[in-house]
Amino acid sequence: MNALAARRRHPAAIALLLVLGLALVGAAYSLFAPKPAQAAATAVSADAINEGRQLFLSNCASCHGLSAEGTKSGPTLIGVGAASVDFQVGTGRMPLSAPNVQAPRGERVMYDEKQIAAMAAYVASLAPGPAIPDEKVSSGEGGDAALGGELFRVNCAMCHNVSGAGGALTRGKYAPPVQGVEGKYIVEAMLTGPQSMPVFDDKNINEEGKASIVNYLKTFESQPNVGGMNLGNLGPVSEGLFIWIFGLALMIGTAFWLGQKAA
């Protein structure tokens, strides 16, 4: 204890504190980082459509209108398809909690799988639209990671960043990170093009292509961080900050320490 107190003002203490601080922040982040929500497609029945209508009326109609025709505070849902509802509600974007430039991914999902499926069935019953994708596509199993990588770099990287870390769009809008997003939602996002994201229908990227993209993203995620901590995959800016703050502190700390050593 005494030794600790004596060293408290030691120049190396600053460096040590920095290391500790960084490690703590990293650990805290990995604890609190959002985990993908769990959901699975379920069968549709007339009962479900009815239940969905009830849920819709009580939770969504205030913004989307009593028959989903749309209001000032929400677009029409006629023809958006089950995929759109499953994506929006399943990722916690809907019901929208507060008007914003863009509906953010929700901290938690408000409904269980059955309720989401019911609402999706209701919206799908209004007019045809993209359906919830097959397990075959959304699991990405039939796809080819390398092909998916190319498709991703060509079609998605300009908004979502090559490593899927996300990126800024104009006027406060942004493309969220796609790392850690469940396969089903990746495919649904492509099918429905939420908000500023374009729609990638099957003419654009076919089912095999979509499965490949999912496969690529999953393979990429499962690769170990061979090089060590990845600094959020944010590229050179975070590397620059790291070397300025951490690298420089380390070097100056060492220089200081060496200077203190009696010659």
């Binding site: 430039v101 990671a145 390398a146 990588g149 190319e150 770099r153 060509v154 990287a157 300009m158 908004c159 979502h160 960043n161 090559v162 490593s163 870390a165 996300g166 990126g167 800024a168 769009l169 104009t170 006027r171 406060g172 942004y174 493309a175 690529y216 393979t219 990429f220 690769q223 961080n225 061979v226 090089g227 060590g228 901590m229 990845n230 600094l231 995959n233 944010l234 590229g235 050179p236 800016v237 975070s238 590397e239 620059g240 900050l241 790291f242 070397i243 300025w244 951490f246 690298g247 420089l248 380390l250 070097m251 100056i252 060492t254 220089a255 200081f256 060496l258 200077g259 050593k261 010659a263």
Partner: protein, 574 residues
């Protein structure tokens, strides 16, 4: 007579007769040393070198960090050349990184993947190379700051300042060339941008681009060319300039911070051998070790995540390495309105100013600074004692203003990342930074200067009235006062031994006959600048003032006012 004279001469020379020849060396090292000396005469030079004295201060080690980082780059770079293939020829990737299997890519990219995944220790060396490159530029910049803020660039060291400036600029280019070699999506985007920059040069732009790329972009030539530049041309120039830099440090001797016993004519510190060499050698290994540690723990430039370069995709968050960030930021800030058509040609000043002109202009100003300051102050003396930054308020404030402008540009390069992390609009951030680029440096200048001046005033107070001891004394009448402890002469010397030049008087700008002459105008300009520099100033405490403050009789060594600082100093040296 001749005998007498020669006898006397012999007498006189008796004292400095040649030392008896040393016996044959006994140790192996001694034998090698003698062998080498007999053939090269190295001992004489070495003994001069080894007797050099270096002052000790942590801020003097920043240049060393830069030197070691460069050496580490050289060492690891040689390792990388064993496996790197500088070719844009296309191959289908067959290495062990699955997500890219079978993809067509350049040999440069595939060989960098091989270094990362299939060469033992390759990734570590790549990461050391890159982290050391970043550390090189960081430490070099901070070293420059140190030299600037302490006025170490003054006569006779101006040339070394210019060399340092060139080194710093070349380091950026060297880094950019290296960063571009792996031919991944990110660096390829960087080359693409560079090509755009070249084209923005008025009139000759397209030709320049054709010559550099050996045809239309991307062509096959750019990677091999950058490779020669990166491993041959620039390292040779860097090492050469660096050697010159060091030799000049030896010739000028190191500067030192003001302090008792330290004068313009001496250097107080440790001799090169053995103390400083041991410390410096130890420091090299520490720097190497720390960089290796960082490289083992933290990824840098994960090119496998970026994929091979292909002109069609662009990625969000594509940035150059940080040291090029400010130029990228300038591009992001320059308004598109600067692009216009003239005589049927498009003039892209919005690109040209930021991408092509900024770096040379910035470095020219930096390199010219010592000469500008010398012209303003008219100070032609040699300076081996450093200024404390507060004692040169205007210079310090100018430096901080320049750094502020640089930081704004750098932040602008991360406007997208700021937008996403802070959940703000990228457009607002850009607008704000445009304004800040002009406002913030002025503000920084003003604030810094005020801080310097008030620190100087504080120093004055401390010298005159001593240091607040924190001890309150109650007098017999019930009054309280705080005991001020007298400064010890060492500390006081540090606080009073500086110069505070007064501005040059402004002339009328006209010569004796009332005719405005060119020379007189120039003088007038100079006087104006001098006013800008030295109008606000705090003078060091004079011995007379000190004596007056000490009128209660506890004054020591101070007799004749004019000789006093020296007296204080001499007292200390004894």
């Amino acid at each position: 007579m001749s005998t007498a004279a020669s006898a006397r001469a012999a007498d006189l020379r008796a004292g400095d007769a040649k030392a008896a020849p040393l016996g044959a060396p006994k140790t192996a090292a001694g034998k090698v040393a003698v062998w080498a000396d007999e053939r090269t005469g190295i001992a004489k030079g070495a003994s001069v070198m080894l007797k050099k004295v270096f002052p000790d201060h942590w801020s003097f080690m920043l240049g060393e960090v830069a030197m070691y980082s460069m050496i580490i780059c050289l060492l690891t770079g040689v390792f990388l050349t064993f496996w790197f293939v500088p070719s844009m020829g296309e191959v289908a990737y067959q290495g062990s990184y699955l997500p890219l299997k079978g993809i067509t890519m350049s040999e440069a990219y595939s060989s960098t993947l091989a270094i990362s995944f299939d060469v033992r220790g390759g990734l570590l060396i790549r990461q050391i190379h890159h982290w050391a490159a970043l550390m090189f530029v960081v430490s070099l910049s901070v070293h420059m700051f140190r030299v600037f803020f302490t006025g170490a660039f003054r006569k006779p060291r101006e040339i070394n300042w210019v060399i340092g400036t060139i080194l710093s600029m070349l380091a950026l280019i060297e880094g950019f060339a290296g960063y571009s070699l792996p031919d991944d999506l990110l660096s390829g985007t960087g080359i693409r941008a560079a090509e755009g920059f070249m084209r923005s040069i008025p009139i000759v732009g397209s030709w320049v681009s054709y010559i550099v790329f050996g045809g239309a972009f991307p062509g096959e030539a750019i990677i091999p060319r950058l490779y020669s530049v990166h491993i041959l041309l620039l390292p040779a120039i860097l090492v050469g300039l660096f050697a010159a830099h060091l030799i000049l440090v030896m010739v000028h001797k190191h500067t030192q911070y003001p302090g008792p016993g330290r004068t313009e004519n001496n250097v107080v510190g440790f001799p090169l051998m053995p103390v400083y060499t041991a410390k410096a050698g130890g420091f090299f290994f520490l720097v190497f070790g720390l960089l290796t540690l960082i490289s083992a723990l933290v990824t840098i430039n994960p090119i496998w995540a970026y994929g091979p370069y292909d002109p069609s995709p662009v990625t969000a968050g594509s940035q150059p390495d940080w040291y090029m960030g400010f130029a990228d930021g300038a591009l992001r800030l320059l308004p598109g309105a600067l692009e216009f058509e003239i005589f049927g040609f498009t003039l892209s000043l919005n690109v040209f100013l930021g991408a092509i002109l900024l770096i040379p202009v910035m470095y020219t100003i930096t390199g010219a600074y010592p000469f500008i300051e010398r012209w303003v102050t008219g100070d032609n003396r040699e300076h081996h004692l450093l200024d404390r930054p507060r004692n040169a308020p205007t210079r310090t404030a100018l430096g901080v203003a320049a750094i502020t402008a640089y930081i704004i540009l750098f932040l602008a390069a991360g406007n997208d990342i700021m937008a996403i992390r802070l959940q703000m609009s990228i457009n607002d951030i850009t607008e704000a930074l445009r304004v800040l680029f002009f406002v913030a440096p002025v503000l920084a200048f003003w604030v810094t200067k005020r801080i310097c001046l008030s620190l100087q005033r504080h120093d004055r107070d401390t010298v005159l009235h001593g240091r607040e001891s924190g001890t309150l004394v109650r007098t017999a009448e019930g009054k309280y006062y705080e005991v001020h402890e007298d400064l010890d002469p060492y500390t006081r010397w540090k606080l009073v031994s500086f110069e505070s030049p007064a501005p040059i008087a402004i002339g009328s700008g006209k010569d004796a006959n009332g005719v405005s002459s060119k020379a007189a105008k120039k003088e007038r300009r100079r006087a104006k600048l001098s006013r800008f520099y030295f109008k606000d100033r705090v003078e060091p405490v004079t011995p007379a003032e000190l004596a007056a403050a000490h009128h209660h009789g506890e004054h020591e060594a101070i007799e004749a006012p004019s000789a006093a600082p020296q007296a204080v100093k001499r007292a200390k040296q004894d």
